[in-house]
Amino acid sequence: MLLPKEKLSEALGALAAEANVIAPVKWEGDVFFMPYKGGDVCLEGNGKLPPKDVLFPKTEKMYSYSIAKGTMTEHNDAAATILFGVRSCDAASIERLDKVFLEQGYKDGFYSAKREGLAVIAMGCDKPMATCFCTSMGIDPMKAEVADVQMCPVEGGFTVEAVTEKGKEIVKKWDSLLDKKSKAKPAKVECSLNINVPEDFEKKLMDMFESPIWDDVTKACLGCACCTYVCPTCYCFDINQDVHGDEGTAFRCWDSCMFSDYTRMAGGHNPRPSKKERLRNRYLHKLAYYKDRHGKYLCVGCGRCIANCPAHLDITAFAEKAMEVE
């Protein structure tokens, strides 16, 4: 099935009439995932930021309480949302976050409410950016994990494939817009950047914990945490309270393992006292610890941390260096 290029706005408009649609839009020269209000979407390049905040907002209220009344009210409002134009890297990141927030014995109620209401329309990626390396991380640019509908750019428009029941519901709404006879097939795409990580790379990395390379690969880091804010799979958060007299609201907000007080304990002891331990933890979490626990890399190769690091640190350059270590 093919959705002709000129019908795309109409197709999105049909969805936006009934649900909250988030789509990549150009804004001040960059691409951002924003509520779709009609008009053109931008399918060139990766979003400046991933669409992670749809499921895991930068800050979110958890509950409010009144000390005097002894009351506790949970805040958890999630609207049905359709996320359009998600590339395979960002779609894979949702699968990685699902493992953290929905599994491991506890279901995070704030995440799960939003996740249940979410439908993902993935868009195949035929023009990887210079910093993209998703194929090295086991991801197919043309076939996204967690997609309810998979679309791919082809001559004259986009192929459309409903993957799940939710996806079928969406495609049904596009019935009159689709060219059902089209036999167009997306091309195979390889990423621009390739690192040939070996099968058991995570084991090698875990054995390298005491290696001298950490001093070298971390020395340029400024500890700004930019890499973690732009990363689709970073999920650390802090919990805090906003108090006004007798009433208060607990909220959580993104945090970063790159900050020095992240692991500092009440008595002052800090198990990760310098940027060396902190960046080592970040690299190992992405490329080793998570894989050890869940079987996949926590890095989806989107390249955002490479493109945005003020000190030009590059996780692929690190991986290549690590591969050379005996």
């Binding site: 509950y63 949970e74 014995g105 875990m206 958060f237 309270q241 692991t263 008595g267 998570y290």
Partner: protein
């Protein structure tokens, strides 16, 4: 919440929709243990036990309007749980200012627990230093409640001074009365009126020369004490598999989500806080 096994990777907890939302409770009793440690007895507003922890598990305790932090649960009764908290910062200062009857919020229980089943039929040597007796006490109480399941029990405990010994009622009154249980106490510096041992915990432990045969060890206290006690235990012939301890890490969520408490691929809040010394050897040195 619930007392399900959250360490089972297939278990999805259905008891509470949202494990991050605490229940409002009240502090029904506060005991001053030492100049800087108080024990807080906590109950739900309708007079029930907030949840039923296993020995060694943790509770996230929040003082509404101030903040929350993770503490070990040192004891439980029919309708209460207890945590012993040392003054170390803003939140614990505020907790120490509380009076009985005030509200407090709790969520939990979190983490794994002491291997109460593995220890069945064995002798147990409990070693604590300072506030480190708090987590150990939950297991000592459990072993006393299930006295027939365990062999000989030794409690070896030390603190800076006699005033700094926590749980004095247990140490001097309750535990010495328990059949086949010995309490060995020591303090760091000589003191008027103290006729017991004066030695650091590791040295005191070495004097006692325990026989490792059929014995498990539970060891909690300051990191430096743990290090030297472990050396003494290894000299006596104990193996690392039989020495059990608990780890402390900064925690926010308690349920393996916020990312904060990892050591390598393990989360202390989920896979810990209880580890054997041989398990700790497997983890990267970042404690």
């Amino acid at each position: 919440m619930c007392d399900h096994n959250h360490n089972d990777p297939n278990h999805v907890c259905t008891c509470s929709d949202n494990p991050l939302v605490p229940q409002v409770c009240k502090v029904i009793k506060i005991t001053a243990e030492t100049p800087d440690v108080k024990t807080f007895r906590i109950q739900t507003l309708d007079g029930k036990k907030p949840f039923a922890p296993m020995p060694g598990q943790l509770a996230m305790i929040s003082l509404l309007g101030v903040g929350e932090a993770m503490f070990s649960i040192t004891a439980q009764g029919e309708d209460w749980i207890e945590s012993s908290i040392k003054r170390t910062g803003m939140l614990t200062d505020a907790l120490h200012e509380m009076t009985e009857g005030q509200t407090i919020a709790v969520r939990g229980p979190y983490g794994n627990h002491f291997p109460v089943d593995d220890c069945k039929g064995k002798d147990i040597l409990f070693i604590g230093g300072g506030i480190g007796l708090a987590p150990v006490r939950s297991f000592i109480r459990y072993a006393i409640e299930h006295r027939e399941d365990y062999g000989h029990l030794d409690v070896l405990y030390g603190s800076r001074s006699s005033a700094d010994l926590v749980f004095k009622d247990d140490l001097f009154e309750n535990w010495p009365k328990v059949e086949d249980l010995d309490v060995h106490l020591t303090i760091d510096r000589p003191e008027e009126g103290w006729n017991g041992s004066v030695a650091f915990v590791p040295a005191f432990l070495e004097q006692k020369a325990f026989d490792p045969a059929g014995k498990k060890v539970v060891l909690c206290g300051p990191p430096i004490m743990i290090k030297f006690c472990l050396q003494s235990l290894l000299k006596m012939g104990f193996s690392k598999e039989n020495v059990i301890t608990t780890l402390e890490m900064r925690m926010k969520c308690g349920i393996g989500k916020c990312g904060r408490c990892n050591i390598g691929s393990k989360y202390v809040c989920l896979d810990g806080p209880v580890f054997t010394m041989s398990e700790l050897d497997e983890l990267p040195d970042e404690k």
